[in-house]
Each structure stands twice: as C-alpha cells, then as structure tokens.
C-alpha cells in the first residue's frame, strides 16, 4: 500500500516536472526576444553616442570647411594625414592658440590641486575635529550645493570687479577652488574610516597633521580619485565663469576658444578647423580617461553621481 502511494507521488512529481519544463522553454523564448531587443537598443545608443565623434574625426582629416547634410560618412573620401597636419597647423597658428592651450592646462592644474587639497582638509576637519558650530557650518557649506551657479554669478562678478580681479588668472582660479562637493565627498569618506586607526596613530606618535597625511589621506584613495576626476572635468570644461571674468583674449581658455571658432553673427564657420580644436580640447580628457578608467567607474559608483 505504502509503495503504491510513493509511486503515485513520484508520477505526480514527474508530470508537474515536465509541465514546469514546458513553461520554462516558453519563458526562455520570450526572454530571448527581450534580450535581442535590448541589444538592438544598446547598439542604437552606441551609434548615437559615437557618431559625433566619428564625424569630428572625419572633419579633422578633411580640408572642406563646409558641413553638408546628410554628411559624407565614408572614411576614405577626402581624408588624409596631411590634411590633418594642415588643419592642425592653421589652428595652432591662429591667434595665440598655444597660449590659450597653456591657459587651460595651467588653470585646470591649479584648480585641481588646490581644490582637492582644500576639499580633503576641510572634509577631514568636518569628519574628525571637534569645534563649535561644526554641524551648522557643514550644513551651510552643503547647502551651497543647492544654489545654481547663475544665481551667484552676478554677485561673484561684482566682487571680482571690486577687488580688481577681472581678466586675471586669480580671478578665474580662486573662486573655483572652494568646492562644496569635494568637501562633502571627503567628509563622507573620512567618516567611514574607523576611529581606532587614527587613535593607534596618535599612540604611535603622529600629530594630527601627520595622521592626516600619513594615515587618513592614504586610506581615502578612492575619494581622492573621484574628486580628482570630477574637479578635472568641471574645471577643464568650465565655460560660463571664464566667459564672465575674462575680457582680454590672451587669457582665453579652450572652451572660450571653441566658442570663438563657432563664429559670430553669421560669419562663415571653418568646420574642419573647429573640429580640430574640438579634438585638441578633448585630447587631455581622453588621455586622463585612458589612464584612470578604473577610477572613473569607481568614482561614479562611489559617489552615486554623474560627472
């Protein structure tokens, strides 16, 4: 009797098992369609993102100053290295292009290092030092993140005018150094470091500044990487503030130069030369991306922000 029961149960199991299998295969085929659709969408997205770059490259290897529609996307028609050299030459000798390039690099480097140093020190202070009004000051700093730049731009401009910093390097650089985002990012990271490690360092004879430079800062490498990347991108691409404070051409940075190449009031745009400038502007970002690719992803996933 018992054996019979067991056999019945087994048969039942088999039957339901097969049915489940059939269902699975149906689900699988739906899944396959879904997969293909998603992949097609992704390919489309890649095309949309890559096409402008591709077109930029084509333009930079051609001599035609015009932009046609639809564009000629044949990579072999009208492209040559000598064309590129010619474009590069005319861009490089245009106005004081080397100086502008230097301006961009100089401003970005100074902003980058100062901002990261200031941000990490301030973030550390907010995370670890005890002083009166710490929380209130921190949330005030954090609150400035909510204020859009255009709101403060006029006041900043007037301030620069008053202290005579218009059209100076310090006028472009100094207001960019204090970054609430960096302060916030570093504070959050330093808070995740166990206090005991710093206490051990105190017992090992390090003073508070040494604890920062020898222990806490090296432990906050991911925060430094993220902050470096964001600050670099922000400063290198910064357009609005330099546009406001720079009135003399000799201090132009690359985003302003690009704007200049775009032409004013219906003047003919030299597309080949403009795309060469675009390429030269992109180049440092591409190099940095290639070197720090790992940190880009880490930095974005660490902060949960988009650059």
């Amino acid at each position: 009797m018992e054996i019979l029961n067991v056999m019945k149960k087994r048969q039942k199991k088999n039957r339901t098992g097969r049915m489940a299998g059939d269902q699975n295969s149906v689900i699988l085929s739906i899944g396959r369609v879904k997969k293909v659709a998603i992949q097609l969408l992704m390919i489309l997205a890649v095309v949309i993102y890559v096409l402008p770059f591709y077109w930029m490259m084509l333009k930079m290897f051609r001599t035609s100053i015009f932009a046609h529609f639809p564009p000629n996307l044949n990579p072999l028609s009208g492209t040559s290295l000598s064309n590129f050299a010619q474009n590069l030459g005319s861009v490089w000798s245009f106005g004081s292009f080397p100086r502008w390039y230097f301006n961009s690099i100089f401003v970005t480097l100074v902003v980058l290092f100062s901002s990261v140093i200031v941000g990490s020190l301030a973030g550390y202070a907010f995370a670890r030092l005890n002083f009166r009004g710490r929380e209130m000051i921190f949330y005030t700093v954090l609150g400035t993140l909510m204020i859009p730049f255009p709101v403060v731009s006029v006041a900043s401009y007037v301030f620069m005018l008053d202290i005579g910093w218009l059209s100076t390097y310090q006028g472009i650089i100094i207001p960019e150094i204090a970054s609430a985002l960096n302060v916030f990012l570093f504070r959050q990271y330093f808070l995740t470091i166990p206090k005991e490690v710093e206490e051990a360092a105190k017992l090992d004879g390090l003073n508070p500044f040494q604890i920062f430079t020898k222990i806490s800062a090296p432990m906050a490498k991911p925060a430094f990487a993220a902050s470096f990347i964001y600050t670099f991108i922000g400063s290198w691409n910064n357009f609005l503030w330099p546009l406001m404070v720079i009135h003399s051409k000799s201090l132009y940075t690359l985003p302003l130069v690009l704007n200049f190449f775009k032409g004013v009031n219906g003047v003919q745009i030299y597309w080949n030369e403009m795309m060469t400038v675009v390429f030269l502007t992109l180049l440092p970002t591409l190099i940095i991306y290639a070197i720090f690719e790992r940190y880009f992803v880490e930095g974005i996933s660490f902060t949960g922000l988009k650059g």
Partner: protein, 396 residues
Amino acid sequence: MWKVYPSPDLKGETVSVNVKNLVLKFGDATAIDNLNLEIGDGEFAVILGPSGSGKTSLLRCLAGLISYESGDIEINGKSMNGVYPSDRNVAMVFQNYALYPHMTVYDNIALNLKMKGMEKGAIDVKVNDVAKVLGIDQLLKRRPREISGGQAQRVGLARAMVRDPAVYLMDEPLSNLDAKFREEMREELKRFHKITGKTVVYVTHDQTEAMSLADRIVVMDQGRKVQEGSPRTLYDNPEHAFVAGFVGTPPMNIFRMRHSGESGNFYELEEAESGTSFGIELSGKNDDGKILAGIRPSDLALDIEGQLESILESTEFLGPTINSYVRIGTSRISVAVPRTQHNEDLLMNGRPGSKLRFRIAPDRIYVFDESSGERLSASVSSVRTIAKKSGENPME
C-alpha cells in the same frame, strides 16, 4: 606558540597606574562617575563589565584619546592631564586591530620607531625580534587585508610590544576571534605578561577571560566601580549582587525574597504562588524586608532530603559536569553537578517535569539588599521548604 623567547631588552621598567576621582561625561550622560583605581607595578588588571559600563571609555582616558571632565590619571606617579597619547609611555591593542591598511605588516610595526627617529638598522632588528617572538615573521611583507584575524591581533600586539611601553592597554583584544583561537591567544597573553612583567590594563565583558587572565579584576557597572579584587575574592565573596550575577559560569541564581510577616527574620521566595517554595532564616535583620538571595549552581546537590523542591526542565551534558535547568515556582534555576551515576540517572534520564530535590548548605547562600544590591552582613541560618497549596508538612 612562542617561537623564540623574547630578547632581554623587552624587559623594561614597570609602573603603577592611578586613577583619582575620574569623571567623564558625554553631553549630559555620565560615562564614568567618580572612579578611583590603583593598579600596581606589573599587575595584570582586568576591567570587567557589560557594554555601556564605561570600561572602554576608561581605557581611552588612560591612553589620552579622550579628555575627561575632572579628576586625575597618574602613570608612574606623574599626572597625565594634557599629556599627548604617545608621550604617556603606553601602548594600546584594539578590538578591531586598527592596523594601517595601506602599510605592510612591517611598516605597521615600525611606524612608531620611525616617528621616534630611530635608525633604520636598529628598527629592522627590533621589528624582526618582536615578529619572531609573536610568530609573525613570515607575514612582514603582507598587508593587513591579507592576514587572518588572529594574525592581525598578533600584529596589533607586536605594534605595541616593539615600543616597549610601561603600560599595555588592551581593549577586548580577543573578542573578534573565534572561540578556539581565543583560548589559545589567552594562554599566549598570560605568557606574554609573565615574560615581560609589564603592567596591563585589560578591558573585557567576558568573565571567563577575566577570571583566567587577571591578577585583579575591577568590575564596573554604569560608570562605577562595583568591586575589585582577585578572581577568587570576587567569586567567593561578591560584595554586590551585580558581581555575583556576573562572575562565574553558569552565573549565580538570584532570588527575590520577602519577609514572611512572621516574627523573626524568615524570608520566602517572592514569585512562588503555588506549589512548593522555600524560605530562609536570616541571622540579622534587613530594614525594608526585601532581599536578594544568591545560590551558585555548583553549590546545589541532588538529595532526596534536600530543602529545595523543583521541577526539571532541561539538561545539558558538558562532560565532567552536568548543567540542568529546574524551576521553583516561577524562578528558573541553573544547577551544575558533577557527573556521577546518580546525577546522570536523575538529570539526564529523568523526564522533564519530574520532581527533584536539591540540598543547599545555608552558609553557601549569599544575601544582598534588594534596592542597593549590596551584600548584607546577616548570614543564613537555615533553609526550609514551604508548601504553598496542599497541607503537606513544611518540614517534610
């Protein structure tokens, strides 16, 4: 476990640690409340207490990591108020190891010597010496994330040892290790103390650890010192119900007892509403008529003539001893008896719910005042069974 005996230079001066009227507050909360403590030269002192008792805060005060409201800490007779942690000649071992994750084990151990400006060659000799002593010389090139918890704690110990401090401060150094390894490290710490002869202040919530390591235990509760003394003193003569319930495994059974209302000093179990209960006759008086009676599980013995009638609940076999849980009224009581044929028959083969009688010597009952928890000077002169419901003879 020690690969090599430590070189003689690990033996340095030993010092005493004195804490005077220490008060520490976090905001409005008092973490340490007027604490006085004297720890002698080369003593292994264990601060024992539950979490939140202020024991780790005390250690941090000793190390100079937090500043206190008032009071004084003296190390080797010198006041440490305002002295920077590294200038106190103390070293600390942390519960979570607190190694520098971006440095190799070697650099972790060597950092302090580097900061002191010691020569490279001398640092090398010292680090290797200590690493050998602790059996971590194979790990010197690794980073903290590449070693196990036990190894990490040895590195933490090495980092402390290499400085040859006068006082070692240890903050639950074994509680992150697994049970078997914890015992092994405990033995090592004992040998470590014997060899170096240094003053150790060791914080733990584990009474077994405290009992096995300490020359002296300081029991703390809610920021106050409850009692201090040798492990034996605390076990045999707890001055406070808190100590009685904290020291010893399984912990002491504590009963709430009330004055019976009869003339004399007879107290009976409070919770018992029906069934058989028990009462004790005190030699002296307690004013408010409320006392706590403590009985160690190992002081109870199975005896058909015993004064305590109970109901068997469950039994744990631990090899040499048998631990049982029995019930008297609504009180759950733990009993620890040696493994004998008689005990096995009754406890291990007995059905839950069966009635058992235990004998207790009256002088083995500890009596505390209920409201303050303090030990009473009165002793127990007799223990009696009380039948609550039926007309059984109380003396039986």
